[in-house]
């Protein structure tokens, strides 16, 4: 391929190519270091928390990101990191934000902090980096979920009356429990295989999760995932 190019230029080209490759690696390493520095004070980026005592869950400042690449859709990360709207109405550890009132406990929203926002260039780099964190490729590969359809009424009854997911999760803005992350945008932010795998076995992802197993039956789980698809696709 390099026939006819003078030896000296050939050498220079070779060095340039090597340099380009190392710059690429360095950019990734830089982002890893940046993320560790800017995000690591709140978010777990490795798996140490899973080996700690269970009470560790109560001290978390943010959801773990060590399996971000097996969980999120890259496009969602890119846009949310620039405009981080609230996902957990009662924060990451709801008991810390609950206060008694005459009408029962309410969420003390004054104790919920705003998430730091990134500019588009940073968000792109960080999203790319987070997508490389994939310790659970095996769990995703084992998933058999094929996205399908379900009627709104059936899906909603299943999510509420039959499985009780609405005790902790909202399936529409301001409708449903507040201790879990809202699920009306779950389809936009999460990989379909993750949704299904997580509903069936949340503790496989996070041994200290506060999410119970409502029903691990595969068909039932896929039905629930189809409902999240239905409501998620209706969101702007």
């Amino acid at each position: 391929m390099m026939k006819g190019i003078p030896v000296k230029l050939r050498l220079t080209l070779g060095i340039a190519a090597a340099l380009a490759a190392s710059v690429h690696v360095a950019a990734h390493a830089d982002t890893a270091a940046d993320v560790k520095q800017q995000c690591g004070s709140c978010h777990a980026l490795d798996r140490d928390y899973a080996k700690a005592a269970k009470h560790e869950r109560a001290e978390r400042k943010a959801p773990p990101l060590d399996f971000a690449g097996n969980k999120f859709r890259r496009e969602w990360l890119y846009s949310w990191l620039q405009n981080p709207v609230r996902l957990r109405p009662a924060g990451v550890f709801p008991p810390a934000h609950a206060k008694p009132s005459a009408d029962g406990d309410v969420v003390d929203t004054t104790t919920l902090a705003k998430h730091p926002a990134l500019d588009a260039a940073q968000a792109g780099k960080v999203a790319d980096y987070l997508m490389t964190l994939t310790p659970f490729d095996g769990l995703i590969a084992a998933e058999t979920y094929q996205p399908g359809t379900i009627a709104q009424r059936m899906g909603q009854m299943n999510f509420g009356k039959f499985k009780g997911c609405d005790g902790c999760h909202q399936d529409a803005p301001d409708t449903g429990g507040v201790s879990g992350p809202e699920l009306y945008t779950a389809w936009q932010r999460l990989q379909p295989a993750f949704i299904s795998a997580y509903i069936a076995q949340p503790a496989a992802w996070d041994p200290h999760t506060m999410m119970p197993v409502g029903d691990a039956n595969t068909a039932a789980v896929h039905k629930l995932a189809n409902y999240l698809k239905l409501i998620g696709e209706k969101q702007p």
Binding site: K54, R57, K99, P100, G104, K161, G164, G177, M210, P212
Partner: protein, 115 residues
């Protein structure tokens, strides 16, 4: 010597009992207060949106009507296992037997050790 040994055994037992009580209280705060309330009165942050209200664990009369085994079962397998609401989740995948026993102990403290 014998009395010393008994004293040591006794204090060890009370240390273990205290640890179980602390762990029950902590687990209750993490897993149960979201629905059953920070005071255990059934008025957690989720309750306002729920079709069936969570049990008031400070209700001495209702709670005394259940055996420890019954409480253990509903925590492990959920409301559905005792023909009650699915809104009471099964916790068997999140909690081990010791932890569920500690929770049963804490429920007894909530319902029946008024001070």
């Amino acid at each position: 010597m014998k009395t010393l040994l008994i004293a040591a055994t006794l204090s060890l037992a009370s240390v273990t009992a205290q640890a179980a009580a602390d762990s029950g209280k902590q687990l209750y705060s993490v897993y149960c207060t979201q629905c059953h309330g920070v005071a255990g009165d059934g008025k957690g942050i989720n309750a306002a949106q729920m079709a069936v209200q969570p049990r008031d664990h400070t209700d001495t009369k209702e709670m005394s009507a259940r055996t420890d085994e019954e409480l253990f079962k509903v925590i492990e397998h959920g409301g559905k296992s005792i023909n009650k609401s699915v809104l009471m989740p099964p916790w068997g995948d999140n909690l081990n037997d010791d932890e569920i026993h500690a929770l049963v102990g804490h429920l007894r403290a909530l319902c029946c050790q008024k001070n």
